[in-house]
Amino acid sequence: MKLTINGEDHQTDISVLSDLLVSLDYEGDWLATAVNGELVHREERPGFTLSDRDRIEILSPMQGG
């Protein structure tokens, strides 16, 4: 299926959000995820099934004013 991850197109067979993060080498307790404009909590990722054309945002801390 086709996913948009942080604005870039990806083709993948992985359908669970937590598995997708591992496959893309995202790790750490400082990440936040949203799918189609809705927050997906850390503990919800292993049970969150992705669908074709989902838009995924993966954010982490950075400097801010």
Binding site: W30, L59, S60, P61, M62, G64, G65
Partner: protein
């Protein structure tokens, strides 16, 4: 003592963490400012990237409270989602709510700001809204659940200093019991001292410190100016007069002619 959403705060300087020459200099500036609250943000992490983690570890090592922001958001919906993601990462209900309405001035979209503030307050957030000095907007933000207001004194990063002292004075007068933090537009320690002399409770700085030749020294200079301004406000200052008043008593003055 200043209390922000029930949290007592000793330092009246809140410091941004952006645009420093290096993480080490950022750390030095935070330590020398003696700030207890720093602002942070969220951005897209690249696959396999660890930059966010490294920054987060630095902040955690400095023993400060974080105030995540929603910088870069242009709609209430974006700001609300960003705030929720920030709560997930930083484990705090505090949020510096920014909804930008104009790209040139970075002026807040106060309509979307009030909308987002209401949604977030109802969801348990403790909202620090980046707003203008407009009193009616301030009232709406308080109605929306905000217990702190953060008016600009000039556009973000402009270093102009307070461009409308009367508006700030008026804001202080209208909201005597609400913590007021000047956020944005400060360029020099004297600017910070000026708004503190008006009775503002604290100042939030970033570019004025990060962009200095020696950010750590400038952080300390601002801390001293903020303390001086606050102490002067508490001590009660003279009002300007039109005529001269001799400081040396004239009673008992010798008469030579």
């Amino acid at each position: 003592m200043l209390t922000l959403y029930g949290t007592p705060v000793t330092s009246r300087l809140l410091l941004g963490t952006s645009r420093y020459p290096s993480p080490s200099i950022l750390g030095d500036a935070i330590r020398r400012s003696k700030t207890e609250i720093v602002t942070v943000s969220l951005r897209r992490e690249t696959a396999g990237g660890k930059t966010g983690g490294a920054f987060f570890e630095l902040i955690r090592s400095l023993d400060v409270r974080v105030l995540p922001n929603t910088a870069g958001c242009h709609t209430a919906k974006e700001a609300v989602l960003t705030a929720k993601m920030a709560r997930e990462v930083f484990a705090t209900n505090w949020i510096k709510l920014e909804v930008i309405g104009n790209q040139d001035t970075l002026q807040p979209d106060v309509f979307a700001l009030v909308e987002a503030a209401k949604i977030l307050s109802e969801d348990g957030f403790e909202v620090f809204p980046y707003t203008t000095d407009d009193l009616v907007v301030a009232e709406r933000l308080l109605d929306a659940g905000c217990k702190v207001l953060m008016p600009w004194c000039a556009p973000i990063g402009s270093a102009m200093g307070p461009v409308n002292l009367q508006a700030l004075r008026s804001m202080r007068g209208h909201f005597p019991d609400i913590p007021l933090i000047v956020d944005a537009g400060i360029g020099r320690p004297s600017h910070a001292a000026t708004v503190m002399e008006l009775g503002f409770d604290a100042v939030l700085l970033n570019t004025a410190v990060a962009g200095a030749s020696d950010p750590a020294a400038m952080a300390e200079a601002f801390a001293k100016a903020i303390d001086a301004g606050h102490m002067a406000y508490e001590a009660g200052m003279l009002e300007p007069r039109d005529m001269a008043v001799p400081s040396t008593p004239v009673i008992g003055k010798a008469v030579f002619a």
